[in-house]
Symmetry: C2
Subunit: 301 residues, 2 copies
Amino acid sequence: MANSSKKIREIGEDLLIKRITKNLPLGKDVVAGAGDDCAVITSNDPQSYVLLKIDCVIEEIHYMKSTPPSAVGYKALSRAISDIAAMGGTPKHAMISLSLRPECNVSYVNSLYHGLSKASSPYNISIVGGETASCGENGTPSVTVSLTGQVRKDRCCFRSKGKSGHILFVTGKLGKSLNGHHLRFTPRIEEAQWLTKKFKLSAMMDLSDGLASDLPRLAKSSNCGYSIEKNQIPRTRGASIQEALCDGEDYELLFAISSKDCNKLEVAWQKKFPSLTLTRIGKLSPKGNANPDLKGGWKHF
Amino acid sequence: MANSSKKIREIGEDLLIKRITKNLPLGKDVVAGAGDDCAVITSNDPQSYVLLKIDCVIEEIHYMKSTPPSAVGYKALSRAISDIAAMGGTPKHAMISLSLRPECNVSYVNSLYHGLSKASSPYNISIVGGETASCGENGTPSVTVSLTGQVRKDRCCFRSKGKSGHILFVTGKLGKSLNGHHLRFTPRIEEAQWLTKKFKLSAMMDLSDGLASDLPRLAKSSNCGYSIEKNQIPRTRGASIQEALCDGEDYELLFAISSKDCNKLEVAWQKKFPSLTLTRIGKLSPKGNANPDLKGGWKHF
C-alpha cells in the first residue's frame, strides 16, 4: 500500500478511520458503523435502535495535569453523552477505563468518579463497570468511556441524510471553549430529544472539533455542499469569527431541516428553550459547493 | 476520607474499584455491575441478557513497542472476548479507541486492525466504531476495546454464585504466558458455551491475573474459601508451580461445579475437546478457609 509509510498526522483522523474501517465486515444488525456520532444497531425491540459510543480524553491533550479530577470525569462522560444526543438518543449504560500512574492518589480517583457521577445522574445513566490500569510512572493518564444508548427508530438522526436546500442551525454559542466551557458544558440531550420528537430533521451531529471541521463532515457524509454566512455564526462573548469556527469543543448541535419547517421551529424553540439561542447559519447545497471553503478546526494529529 | 491520601498502588486495583463503584446508582435493569468479568443488563428479550465489557492494553505494560501491531490488535480484542466467554456469552459488537503518537505510521494502524479482524472474525463480531486520538509525541500509546455480548439467562455464569464443596476446574495449562501465549491465545468461547449449555456451573471467570490472584477473587465473590492442590495445577511445559500460579495472562477458564457432575463432565470434555486439558485443582470451601493462602499474581499498580 503506497500510503502505508505515511505518518498518521500526514493523513489525519478522518482519512485514517475511513481507510481502516472500510474493509471491516459488519453483521446485518448494524445500521451504521464507524463514521457517525454513534454506531447504530438493531435490537430485539422493533421500535428502537441501540446506540454505541467509545471516546477517550488524554492528559495534556484534552485536559491538564492541573485540571480538577472531578472536571476530568465530568468532561469524559459528557462528551460521550453529547454523541448520544447527536443521534436523538437516550444514554443508558457507561463503562469507564482509567489509565493512571501508580503514584496517583486514591482521592484523585474518588474525585474523578464524582465528576462521572455528576455527568451521569441527570440522565440516570448506570455506570456498570470500571477497570483501572497503570500507564507506568512516566506514562500518559487517560479516561476512556464507552456508553450505550437507545433511540426510537423514527427519531434516530444520522449525519448522512442531509438534503441540499435544507437549512442549517446551531444551538448555543461557539468559540473560546478553553475558557472553561469544555469542562462544564451540558450535553444537549433534552434539546435533541425535543427536536427529534417535534420535527423531522434530515441530519444532525454534535460540534466537537469546531464548525470548520464538523460542517464539512456533515455535508460530505450527506453528499452535499454547504453555504454559510460567517457573520451569522453565534459567538461566545469575546470570540472572533475564526475562534467560533475553529476552537472546537463547543458540544452544541448542528442540524439540517427543511426550509418549510424553519419558522415553526424557531417559534417553538424560543418558547421551549428561551435561554438557549438557536441560529440559522446557512444551508446545505449541491455537492461540490463550499461557500466559504472552511479550513481549520481541531486536528487530532 | 482517611484513605484518600494513599496512592493507588498502596491499596491495589480490587479495593480501588470496590471503593469507587460502591456508591454508584444503578438502574433496575442492571443485573451485575462492576466486579464480575462483564456487566450484565436485562434486555427487551426476556430470554437473554446483554453483556458489556471495557478493557485496555497499554504500551510497555501489556505489550512492547517492538510487539508486532497485528499481535497488539489481536490481544486487545481477544482479552475482552475472553471476558464474554467467562460469562458463557456470545460476543457481538466491538468499538476501538486508539491512542497513538502522531509519528505513528499508517501501516502500524492498518496492521493493528488486521489483528483486531483476526480476533473478531471467528465469532462474527462487528467492529462498529473506531476513534483515534493523539497521546502526544512523548505519550504512552494504548488500545481500549469495548465489547457487547449476549447470553441466555439460564446459561449466564457469574463469579459470585460458587458454593462451598463445589469442585474447581481449570482449562488448559498455566504459566509462562509471556513466552508468546499472551499474544496468541484463543479465547475459550467455544468451551464456555459448551460448558454452560451442557452443565450447571455455579461460578466461572477467566484467568487474566494468574490463579493466585483470580481464585481468591472468585472465592471471595462467592462468599467462600478454597482449597487446592498446588501440584495438581496444570503447567505449561517448563513452568514452575509458582509461575503457573502467578505469571497471569493465561486466559483460561476457572469454574466451579457440583461434585456429582464431575465424572460426567470429565468424560464428555475428553470427547469434545480431546486436545485441551481440563483439570480438577481443588474445591470451594466455607468462607475463611484458604488452603494454601495464595499470594501474588499480576499487580496492576
